[in-house]
């Protein structure tokens, strides 16, 4: 359905470049290094969580001179990542195109088989973190301090209880469905554009609850405007010791959002090794570690085959849902 002449051209173009690159003798370099600026595709819009992380990584690479060329972020937020995936598919064989992904990396191809994207062909580089989710309400709701009181209040309001989130079928929607099912609620899910907007709707009392990432609610949380009731994680988050996990509350439910760097499909082995090494260095840098702590990010560094099997496992879990 989504095949076009345009994609074909790109493929021809990419093929031409790679043939020519292969023809150029590399002098004096044992290991592969990028020879032109690297396109760093962001699977989300400007200003969101993923975009901020990419710009932080870009700046770490530039300021610590980790690479001989600049990394230039290009935002492709269209179609829940569909645009970015199709773009990457068109860059088949490119050694100078990488992408920063979210969970939509494996959920979007499942939902839209027409794209013809197989994530198994992409090159795993490095999982930089896993973002977490918490359940939030406004601090003025003095009557809600734990999940039982939340369930009671939400039930009383029926479908007038508004849960704000980031688009239908998004991670937020999945979590809302879980809450509705687990606590027998009938909350109304209203989609907004981006997590920051969602956080603001809660703070402005235009929504009754949200399931934001910590990074999105942090400002309001620190100002005492919103509070976290429970976490969708395995263990309590150090930043929110007062929020028990759903596991503690008797619901076997955890959910994370991957923050991963992916290479174009068919990238050469040498290039893949280079990017893996580079992002391992970024991962271990003080700035990235500081960012992880501040935004309450979880998840260890994952590379190579381990990352690929992680994707496949997550994809199968999603598929079975």
């Amino acid at each position: 359905m989504l095949k076009s002449q345009h994609t074909l051209w790109k493929a021809i173009w990419a093929l031409g470049i790679s043939t020519m690159l292969a023809g150029i003798p590399v002098v004096g370099h044992a290991a592969w290094e990028p020879s032109k600026p690297v396109e760093f595709v962001v699977m989300a819009g400007k200003g969101g969580g993923a975009d901020k992380a990419v710009r932080l990584m870009q700046s770490i690479i530039a300021s610590e001179k980790m690479a001989p060329v600049p990394f230039t972020p290009v935002n492709k937020p269209g179609g829940s990542g569909a645009e970015a995936l199709v773009h990457m598919k068109g860059k088949m064989g490119s050694n100078h195109t990488i992408m920063f992904t979210l969970n939509s990396f494996y959920t979007t191809p499942l939902r839209q088989p027409g794209l013809g994207v197989d994530i198994a062909t992409f090159t795993p580089v490095a999982r930089m973190a896993e973002d977490t989710f918490l359940l939030w309400v406004h601090s003025d709701r003095k009557d809600i301090n734990n999940i039982a009181e939340f369930a009671k209040a939400a039930k009383a309001k029926g479908n007038k209880w508004i849960m704000a989130g980031t688009g239908k079928n998004s991670e937020d929607n999945l979590l809302t469905d879980f809450l509705n099912k687990a606590y027998d609620l009938n909350m109304k899910y209203v989609p907004y554009k981006g997590g920051g907007k969602v956080a603001k709707e809660l703070a402005g009392k235009n929504a009754d609850s949200t399931v934001n990432n910590p990074s999105e609610q942090l400002g309001f949380y620190e100002a005492g405007t919103t509070k976290a009731l429970a976490a969708f994680t395995d263990d309590r988050l150090p930043l929110f010791p007062g929020a028990p996990t759903f596991k503690e509350l008797g619901e076997d439910y955890v959910y994370y959002m991957q923050r991963t760097v992916v290479g174009a499909p068919g990238m050469s082995k040498e290039a893949a090794d280079y990017y893996t090494g580079l992002f391992t260095k970024v991962f271990n840098s003080d700035k990235w570690q500081e960012y992880r702590t501040k935004k309450s990010l979880q998840g260890d560094l994952l590379t190579g085959d381990a990352l690929m099997s992680y994707w496949k496992r997550e994809r199968d879990v999603t598929w079975s849902c």
Partner: protein
């Protein structure tokens, strides 16, 4: 024109209808509702435009100005075609291959300026473009087959 646009409106309506165009319970208006009704407005407007034209009431229908004069048409068409060819060439011989050709065509053959001036601009414009966009702003333009020529430049500047 209105007829063509009317057909385009119908295409847009059909395309919008690929998504639900009615009310979905608990979700509000479907994804296709907004563009569907707007495309319908387009179609109605086209109908109105054609009706006005038949009644000879619109400002166009009543004016006796020629749509475009023949000798002028040549110039406009030449520029439009040159633009299309230039963009087509972007993907093959790159911006820095196609732009000079366009500049030579326009300055020398449309503008009838001297070869000296043509040469200066043909070299100057791409060089300034490279400095401003690629080096200062780090916006990488398509290179096509000329890509390998730029690798040493990237090494030097970026």
């Amino acid at each position: 024109m209105a007829l063509l646009m009317g057909v385009f409106s119908i295409y847009l309506m059909v395309k919008s209808a690929e998504l639900p165009i009615g009310w979905i319970d608990e979700e509000g208006p479907g994804g296709g509702t907004w563009p569907f009704w707007l495309a319908t407005i387009m179609l109605i407007s086209c109908g109105g435009i054609i009706y006005n034209w038949f009644r000879k009431k619109g400002p166009i229908a009543t004016s006796n100005k020629t749509y475009i004069e023949a000798h002028v048409l040549g110039d406009v068409a030449a520029v439009a075609v040159a633009l299309i060819i230039t963009v087509a060439l972007f993907s093959f011989i790159g911006v820095y291959g196609a732009l000079p050709l366009f500049l030579i065509f326009y300055i020398r053959f449309m503008g009838k300026h001297s070869w000296k001036l043509t040469a200066a601009l043909t070299v100057g414009v791409p060089v300034v473009t490279f400095y401003f966009f690629e080096i200062t702003l780090k916006i990488i333009l398509p290179k096509g087959v000329t890509e390998p020529l730029f690798l040493p430049l990237y090494k030097m500047f970026l």
